[in-house]
């Protein structure tokens, strides 16, 4: 439901709005101060101990990679939240939206800045959960809820795999500090646990960054409000997986397994996603699939691992975040002002929305990779890396070629078509949005152009430090340029443009053809997911039906049978019990009073079990209790005996009081079940056997001896039992008295509930 809070008229989001803009803006300014030192090759380590006993530190590592991410997160965050003040500012749940978005930002910043693996994991999960809340923001829609749950389950499962991988890695490296792990690459790669570690890390990264075959959640996640798509599902969160791969590359990279898995999964995702992007008619979905393509390309280049590839990866990371956030914001404006995102219904918006068009066009040109935009530089380096690689030249270059050409088409579909030509009819008459909306795409588009014109700046402050961090080599020089010579990479770029233009001209037919192919394909991931979830639910229901029967007797039967078999089996298998029990010696030592107590208790117990009258049962229980107290008295435990006697009295008082209100049921009408009798006797016999086995062994009195010696000199007490309770083991006692209080309060609440709300259950049909 859209919440029942009264609709408070808010201008531009109210206080929640400006706070949400000010926080990322301030963070952005704060991170800027580190740009200088980091560009000199410095690594900044800050931190405090969080859980020292488990070696978990809240430590921050600022190097080229994490700083680039932090600047993107805070910078794009500022523009996105500014955009949201107009896009969602009048939504009744806007403050909640801001809360989720801020929580996400904290998580994401923590994720990229953490130097401790466990802290990194905690923040990783924060982003998963806040992403879930944001995708499901429109919680009245079943589609949003399903998409949110799908994203949560998939990335959450990946997160668990990642946690396991992190624990193994920490075990192998002997530390959870990334800055220390990254220097131990050789040793980690040689360790037998290397393969499981890589697989677990890849599961985490691939689910988060939506790599094939875990790609299907990302397009569904577009059910989220557009600012969320722009922020989480293109610029930041989905790059978390890429970040992780880049981060651990110095430790885990540089092996056949790493190389082939990453380039195959990345390359496949790249081509597959760019084809599906062309297939879409909803521009937001087009952008969603191009994001998948970009993530695939980033993965591919981390896997390739050559300096050129890492450099290309870093450039492309920045480039993609800039243009993709701009395009998402652009489609957000179009959607907000015209009421549709369907590519066939939008034409000629350029004249009505010139500033939006300008921002979108700048971003789209960068995405298409046309010079002098930074997108061109990024593509150029990707080609160079592909051509320079010895093992998989064709695969890497080919996938990048196909993807770049298709990107060109996608850019045309997303911007050229809607904004040019004759104005079409839209659900709402098109008009320009407020400045807070178009400022974002405009700034990001301008940066795409500016970075392309001045590549030195990007190189020095972002790409070079980032490349050092991922490549793990701080002596390597990074050189970015727009154009230097006509070489193979440049020629490939020209071929890309030609292919792209041809494909754009025929894209309507291409889309139809793709639709036919996809319709014919029997493997469908999304419905497959539903079947998986249904299967798990059916399994849960099946096992619940069988194990959780809801019958108390059956539960007790299972518990006692398990106890008997496990204890008895262990004793028998270990041969722990010596059956040559010397009864003669035992009987010699027994006095009359011993016999009397034994008989008393045994008779009381048997009487309680077999009597049909509840008064007899209570009396018999009293006999047992007093008998036990007598044992305590006879064997030198005065404190225990007094306690037992007092408690026994209280039990009788309580039972007597309760009996006044309980029915005088005939306890004897219980059906006689031979099976129960057999199990009872067996359990009793096994407990006796265990106890006798214990008594046959030696008693380790070390702790008792210590207490006896220390009780007076150290704790100034002559009653050793009391000293143990209130001094040596006071923490235990504290826990125990807390339990007593809780039991009393719980019982009190139960009784009071009877008095004041006792028939509530009947009134609303509780039965």
């Amino acid at each position: 439901m859209a919440s029942n809070t009264a609709e408070v008229p808010r201008k531009a989001g109210g206080p929640a709005g400006w706070i949400s803009v000010a926080v990322p803006a301030a963070l952005f300014a704060w991170f800027l101060q580190y740009v200088g030192p980091v560009s000199e090759g410095e690594q900044i380590l800050l931190g405090i101990d969080w859980v020292p006993s488990m070696d978990i530190r809240l430590s921050v590592l600022i190097d080229g990679l994490s700083l680039t991410f932090a600047l993107l997160i805070a910078g794009i965050g500022t523009l996105v939240t500014l955009f949201s003040t107009a896009y969602l500012g009048k939504h009744p749940d806007y403050p909640r939206f801001v809360l989720f978005l801020m929580a996400f930002m904290v998580g994401m910043l923590g994720l990229v800045l953490s130097d401790n693996l466990i802290a990194l994991f905690v923040f990783w999960e924060v982003t998963t959960i806040s992403s879930y809340l944001l995708i499901g923001f429109d919680n009245a829609s079943a589609k949003s809820r399903r998409s949110a749950l799908q994203a949560l389950l998939l990335t959450g499962a990946g997160g668990l795999a990642l946690l396991a991988g992190m624990i193994l890695l920490g075990h192998v490296a002997g530390t959870f500090e990334l800055s220390e792990i990254l220097t131990q690459g050789e040793a980690i790669r040689a360790h037998p646990l290397y393969v499981p570690i890589v697989i677990l890390f890849l599961l985490g990264a691939f689910t988060k960054s939506a790599q094939f075959p875990f790609h299907f959640w990302l397009p569904n996640a577009m059910a989220a409000p557009t600012p969320v798509s722009a922020y989480l599902h293109s610029a930041t969160m989905v790059k978390g997986g890429v970040y992780l791969l880049a981060r651990v590359n110095p430790a885990l990279g540089d092996s056949e397994l790493w190389f082939w898995t990453l380039i195959v999964a990345g390359g496949f995702t790249t081509v597959f996603a760019s084809l599906l992007a062309i297939r879409q008619t909803d521009i937001k979905q087009v952008l969603a699939y191009t994001t998948l393509m970009a993530l695939g390309a980033l993965t591919l280049f981390i896997g390739t691992g050559s300096p050129d590839a890492i450099k290309g990866m870093m450039v492309f990371l920045v480039v993609h975040s800039l243009y993709k956030a701009a395009l998402f914001l652009m489609i957000g404006i179009v959607d907000h002002e015209t009421g549709t995102r369907e590519v066939d219904r939008l034409r000629g918006l350029g004249r009505k929305m010139p500033l939006t068009f300008l921002g979108g066009a700048l971003a789209a040109i960068s995405m298409a990779g046309i010079p002098p935009f930074v997108g061109f530089i990024g593509k150029e380096f990707l080609y160079k890396a592909g051509l320079g690689h010895e093992q998989a030249t064709v695969w890497i270059t080919g996938t990048i070629f196909a993807a770049s050409a298709l990107m060109f088409v996608a850019a045309g579909i997303a911007v050229l078509r809607p904004f040019t030509g004759r104005l079409s009819d839209t659900p709402r008459p098109a008009h320009e949005g407020p400045w807070v909306m178009w400022i974002g795409p405009l700034i990001l588009g301008a940066l795409s152009l500016g970075f392309g014109l001045f590549p030195d700046m990007v190189e020095r402050f972002l790409v070079a430090p980032g490349t050092w961090a991922v490549y793990g080599d701080y002596d390597y020089t990074v050189d970015l340029y727009l154009f230097r010579e006509v070489n193979a990479a440049f020629l490939l770029s020209l071929a890309t443009f030609a292919t792209g233009i041809v494909l754009y001209l025929v894209h309507a037919r291409l889309r139809a053809a793709l639709a036919r192919i996809i319709a014919a394909n029997p493997v469908k991931f999304d419905p497959g997911w539903d079947r998986l979830i249904d299967g798990i639910k059916a399994l849960a229901a099946w096992q619940t039906r069988h194990l959780q029967s809801g019958v108390l007797q059956r539960y007790m039967l299972i518990v006692f049978a398990t106890l008997t078999v496990a204890l008895g089996g262990t004793i028998w298998a270990q041969g722990a019990l010596d059956f040559r029990i010397d009864f003669a010696a035992e009987f010699d030592g027994l006095l009359f009073k011993h016999w009397a107590v034994l008989i008393f208790i045994t008779a009381g117990a048997l009487l309680t079990a077999y009597t049909g009258s509840r008064m007899t049962a209570i009396a018999a229980l009293g006999v047992v209790g007093i008998g036990v107290a007598l044992i305590f008295i006879m064997f030198s435990a005065p404190d225990v005996a007094i306690t037992q006697l007092l408690v026994e009295t209280l039990v009788v008082v309580l039972v007597a009081v309760a009996m006044l209100k309980l029915p005088n049921l005939n306890l004897g009408d219980e059906p006689r079940r031979p099976g129960h009798a057999v199990l009872s006797i067996a359990t009793g016999a096994v407990v006796s056997a265990v106890l006798i086995a214990v008594l046959q062994g030696d008693l380790d009195r070390r702790i008792t001896d210590y207490f006896e010696v220390a009780s007076w000199p150290d704790a100034y007490g002559r009653n050793i039992v009391n000293v143990i309770l209130v001094d040596f083991r006071a923490l235990d006692t504290f826990g125990e008295i807390a339990v007593v209080v809780i039991a009393a309060l719980a019982a009190y609440a139960l009784l009071r509930g009877t008095r004041y709300g006792g028939d509530a259950a009947d009134k609303d049909g509780g039965r």
Partner: protein
Amino acid sequence: MVNSIILNAATRLLVALLLLFSVFMLLRGHNLPGGGFIGGLIGATGFILYAIAQGAEATRAALRVEPQNIAMVGLGIALCAGGFAAFFGEAFFTGQWLFIGETEEDKGLPISSVLVFDIGVYLVVFGSILTLVLALEEEV
């Protein structure tokens, strides 16, 4: 509530005696059988006797404080006694001792965080049991 003159007359005396005895058991507990658990149980028994003779309502009036509050205060006292060691830089629940009038031969009157802890235990047991019994008694 039981209408018995003997019981009514006897309880007045017995409650006071049991309460006094419970405090005695509490205080001597560190050196002889006794302590907070036993003291609390004896004290509670005294008031339960009173409740049987005079009714739960009268017992609550005689207690003046709700028994569940007594239990919670006791828990708080025990916690404070445990945390007290932190002021001296020692581990949680390390006993702290002060001997008033200490001489060469005699340790004088000992006051300790351990005794405070035992008083907390006493109040918890006393309060919890009365909470239970009084609530159940009022039900019936």
